[in-house]
Amino acid sequence: MIIKPLAWQRIVWVALAAMTLLTLVVLFFIIGFIASKGARVITPEFLFGMPARMGKEGGILPTIIATIYITLLAIIIATPIGVGSAVYLTEYTRESAITRIVRFGADALAGVPSIIFGLFGFILFVIRLRMGWSLAAGGLTLAFMILPTIIRTSEEAIRAVPHNLREVSYSLGGAKSQTIMRVVLPNALPGILTGVILGMGRSVAETAATIFTAGSSLLIPKSLFDPARTMAVHFYILAREGLSMERAYGTAFLLIVAILLINVVAYSLMFRLTRKMR
């Protein structure tokens, strides 16, 4: 039997639509499932209480604090390096061997699996530099991990700054560094922030790289060199060791809410940016 082209098209339309629907169903199922089981676990005691019996009981305050510290540390280290790289790529060189090498580095780094970052951070920061399992070792490791995201988004944001803005600055006698600091970077700020926020999201979600560098202590970290357990690591340990399903759902729900909020902020910034361009 020969199927007519237009009938074929209808069949394909239905098939592709079904596949797209399936993808969306999976997305909503994951979020909905965690929300339905986790939302009711969220109480003030859960958010602001100390864990008891390895996390079987009590709250998750130390893991929330550790997540915030380690994420801030990662972006504080990675942002200047990432934005600096982007500035060099866009403002100081034309397409050349150097730009190709730097871009290759960023792309290659983006492809490195997080467990490799974990191994690397463990051997360099925890062992060789004697930081031990600590916020510092975890933050540094995550900083390297999110560096490519920040470089790439900042580069795009800086490239999108109209050229005549720079020319106005130069014509007023602005030096190159002044032009960059006062004209280029402020105009590229929303795009740069998008990259930084996406990097935050990755840091919050990361497990494999943090568990071997920051450790899994359930105490509130008091200094940079104290070990700490992030929410993602806590969730992994709760779920894998079957300590408390209820608390695992609660932690997962909090993680997802945090990540969704972070990403929504990032995307709305990006959206505003692209609308301004048009």
């Binding site: 082209p5 074929w8 098209q9 339309w13 592709l16 596949m19 797209t20 399936l22 993808t23 999976v26 997305l27 994951i30 979020i31 499932f33 965690i34 390096i81 600096g84 790289s85 060099y88 100081y92 150097i98 090498i101 730097v102 290759f104 580095g105 792309d107 780094l109 492809g111 490195v112 699996p113 467990i115 490799i116 970052f117 974990g118 191994l119 690397f120 463990f122 051997i123 360099l124 390297f144 560096l147 490519p148 470089i151 030096a175 560094s177 999201g201 979600a205 990361e206 497990t207 071997f212 993602a232 969730f235 992994y236 779920a239 695992a248 997962a252 993680l255 997802i256 990540i259 990403n263």
Partner: protein, 279 residues
């Protein structure tokens, strides 16, 4: 003078990403190479015995496990992801694409441990009751990984479809082809390199994913012979044993990381070569 200094400083900063790649390779290889030299390259990658306490370090089952799980994941990811990308590129109304694309990208932000958890509480029991076996299996791992690589596959192949010059499509439609014929015979071949890159980058994500796989794979130290059997991948081998390993055992885990690093490097190089614009 000051300007020159700033420029030199920025140049230094710009090389940090490249330097990091070399640092990572250096530290992983420095830990791993001596161990591989000690047990022999062949015995390391082609032996099926992994018994760190007896000094036996063969990672063949994990290599096979990683490849099996990854290839299957890419098959799942390709079927779903490319269908999605084709639908969004050609058939879905514009307004819906603007909503759907960011939503699919949000999938990428969900922590991998959450995917693993969903796998444990939903997928594993389902596989156990439907197909038998322990549930923790090659199949469970590759389905979870297939879902996890969807955002990568969809985003990059959608870009590839959008990068096809509209003239191609218009020419084909003007010749009386249907939209599906145009998509299948004209746009798909034209977007081929981008789609291949999407699948290879997805493959890189799948082979490197750790926590989600540990949770659903079962992690048994045997050669995976059936899709319903448990499996241990290279990444899970590292993460499972890093917590307590020391000495040669720890070095062997770094050597496992070395193999993973090489696999990723090869995949990324292929992706880079396919997407390079022809001159």
């Amino acid at each position: 003078m000051r300007e020159k200094l700033i420029e030199k400083g920025l140049l230094l900063v710009a090389f940090s990403a490249v330097a990091t790649i070399f640092l990572i390779a250096f530290f992983i290889f420095r830990e791993g190479v001596p161990l591989v030299a000690k047990v022999g390259v062949w015995d390391f990658i082609a032996s099926t015995r992994w018994a760190p306490s007896k000094g036996q370090f063969g990672i063949l089952p994990m290599i096979v496990g990683s490849l099996e799980v990854t290839i299957l994941a890419v098959v799942f990811g390709a079927v779903l992801g490319l269908s999605c990308a084709m639908f969004l590129a050609e058939f879905a109304p514009r307004w819906s694409v603007r909503i759907l694309k960011p939503m699919i990208e949000l999938l990428a932000g969900i922590p991998s441990v959450v995917y693993g958890f969903i796998g444990v509480v939903v997928l594993v029991p389902w596989i156990r009751t439907t197909f038998g076996g322990p549930g923790f299996s090659v199949l469970a791992s590759s389905i979870i990984l297939g879902i996890m690589i969807l955002p990568t596959v969809i985003a990059i192949s959608l870009d590839a479809f959008h990068a096809v010059p509209p003239l191609y499509k218009e020419g084909s439609l003007a010749l009386g082809a249907t939209r599906w014929q145009t998509l299948y015979r004209v746009q798909l071949p034209a977007a081929r390199s981008g789609i291949i890159a999407a699948l290879i980058l997805g493959m890189g994500r799948a082979v490197g994913e750790t926590m989600a796989v540990i949770m659903v794979a079962g992690n048994a130290l045997t050669m995976p012979t059936s899709l319903l059997q448990p499996v241990r991948t290279l990444t899970s081998n590292i993460a499972l044993e890093m917590g307590y390993a020391s000495g040669d055992h720890q070095a062997a885990l770094f050597a496992t990381g070395m193999v993973l690093f090489v696999i990723i490097a090869v995949l990324n190089t292929i992706a880079l070569v396919v997407t390079r614009p022809r001159t």
